[in-house]
């Protein structure tokens, strides 16, 4: 009785203990069941994949690659802008340097011309002073010569007087003058 039920339940592919007779893969009784459920499962997977999953993933991937492309383009733009800014900066630097050079040259030139003017003025003053001094020296020398004549007269007079001679002033002066003319 028990075997009968088992046979009815399991068919030809199981033994009395419920173990497989031969390979379960080859049991003809079970094949329609597997094929039926496989087709159902494949249809369900295909539906889910083609209607929901794959379009969604494709759109996400496309969106991502679009974002990446945009970001890369923006980065490229920024790079170009940075390069331009650098060029402007370098240009400004060069301009400033050139301006500074020009200012220095101008200052040097004006200083040189001022210097030349001052030097000329100073030279003129020095020349004037020198001329004055020479005049003064000449005057002093002249007066000194006169003084020498006076002193020589006086001294000669005193000497003559001391020696005991007596000479008039005219003679002495003439003698002194003759002596001084040497």
């Amino acid at each position: 009785m028990a075997t009968e039920i088992n046979d009815a339940v399991a068919g030809a592919c199981l033994d009395a203990g419920g173990s497989a007779l031969g390979m379960p893969q080859l049991c003809a009784d079970w094949i329609p069941n597997q094929i039926f459920w496989l087709l159902i499962t494949l249809a369900a997977i295909y539906f889910v994949m083609s209607r929901i999953a794959l379009p969604r993933i494709a759109s996400v991937l496309a969106e991502r690659s679009g974002t990446i492309t945009n970001d890369l383009a923006a980065a490229e733009d920024f790079k170009i802008k940075a390069k331009e800014a650098e060029a402007t900066y370098q240009q400004a630097l060069r301009d400033a340097r050139a301006e500074a050079d020009a200012i220095i040259a101008e200052a040097k030139a004006s200083i040189n011309s001022d210097l030349a003017v001052e030097l000329a003025k100073a030279d003129a003053q020095i020349a004037e002073k020198t001329a004055e001094s020479e005049k003064a020296i000449a005057a002093i020398r002249e007066s000194a010569m006169e003084s020498v004549a006076v002193i020589a007269n006086n001294t000669a007079k005193e000497l003559v007087a001391v020696i005991g001679g007596n000479a008039d002033a005219k003679t002495i002066t003439a003698a002194v003058n003759a002596q001084m003319k040497g």
Partner: protein, 240 residues
């Protein structure tokens, strides 16, 4: 001691233990449904945010998408891309069935020849019909090697025709055989693990085979998919 390493492949009704009709919900149904839920979870719920910077789950889905999309595009060319959803469906079904089958106490639909034969012959029939629809009779140029010496061409054509019709068989048995063999070997090692004397070796063996099976699960899904792409390429461009 009695081993039943193949009992894991028995198809059982989920409710009661009546006979298995074609419509009966069985453990096959259950694990295919779990696979479907995982796929929905990964690709639909995981990508719900549509984030520009993807979350972890979303990036896994995008990685698989990109991987298969690139494979289809590289192998079949630009005009094969419109078949991408079908190929993606095959790939994710096999991938999830293979990996879910590695859970203890789970059921592995891809170890059943009936399942993989439907997949393999489905690809074969679809690709053959597509080849004739797209190319007409010139699809037969696939078998006629125009760059081989004239004498050899008929012989090569016969070999090519035979190999063409063997394709679906090898395509489906490769997948089922790999998955079934791996699971059966793990079960055999598990049977030996009950013997105290050899149990350390047996458990080590289970661990090693399990590691191998983790690789096999991914590789077989990949191989099935890339062969599908190759067959599709032959249908779209039969001229060598």
């Amino acid at each position: 001691m009695v081993f039943h390493p193949l009992d894991q492949f028995i198809v059982k009704p989920l409710f009661g233990d009546g006979p298995v009709h074609w419509y009966t919900p069985t453990n096959v149904t259950l694990w295919m449904a779990i696979g479907l839920l995982c796929i929905v979870g990964l690709f639909v719920l995981g990508g719900r945010g549509r984030a520009i910077v993807p979350t972890r789950v979303q990036s896994i889905g995008e990685l698989i998408y990109g991987f298969i999309y690139k494979m289809v595009e590289d192998v079949t060319g630009k005009d094969g891309v419109k078949y991408f959803p079908y190929i993606m469906t095959l790939f994710v079904f096999i991938l999830f069935a293979n990996y879910l089958a590695l859970l203890p106490m789970s059921y592995s639909p891809t170890s059943m020849i009936a399942v993989t034969a439907v997949l393999g012959f489905g690809v074969f029939i679809a690709v053959t019909i597509l080849g004739f629809v797209k190319n007409g009779a010139s699809f037969l140029a696939l078998f006629w090697m125009s760059d081989a010496p004239l004498v050899l061409r008929p012989i090569i054509a016969i070999i090519e025709v035979i190999s063409y019709f063997v394709r679906p068989v090898s395509h489906s048995i490769r997948l089922a055989g790999n998955i079934m063999a791996g699971h059966a070997v793990i079960k055999v090692f598990a049977g030996f693990a009950a013997l105290t004397l050899v149990s350390p070796v047996a458990i080590l063996g289970i661990t090693a085979i399990y590691g191998l099976e983790v690789l096999v699960a991914g590789i077989q899904a990949y191989v099935f998919t890339i062969l599908t792409c190759v067959y599709l390429k032959d249908a779209l461009h039969p001229h060598h």
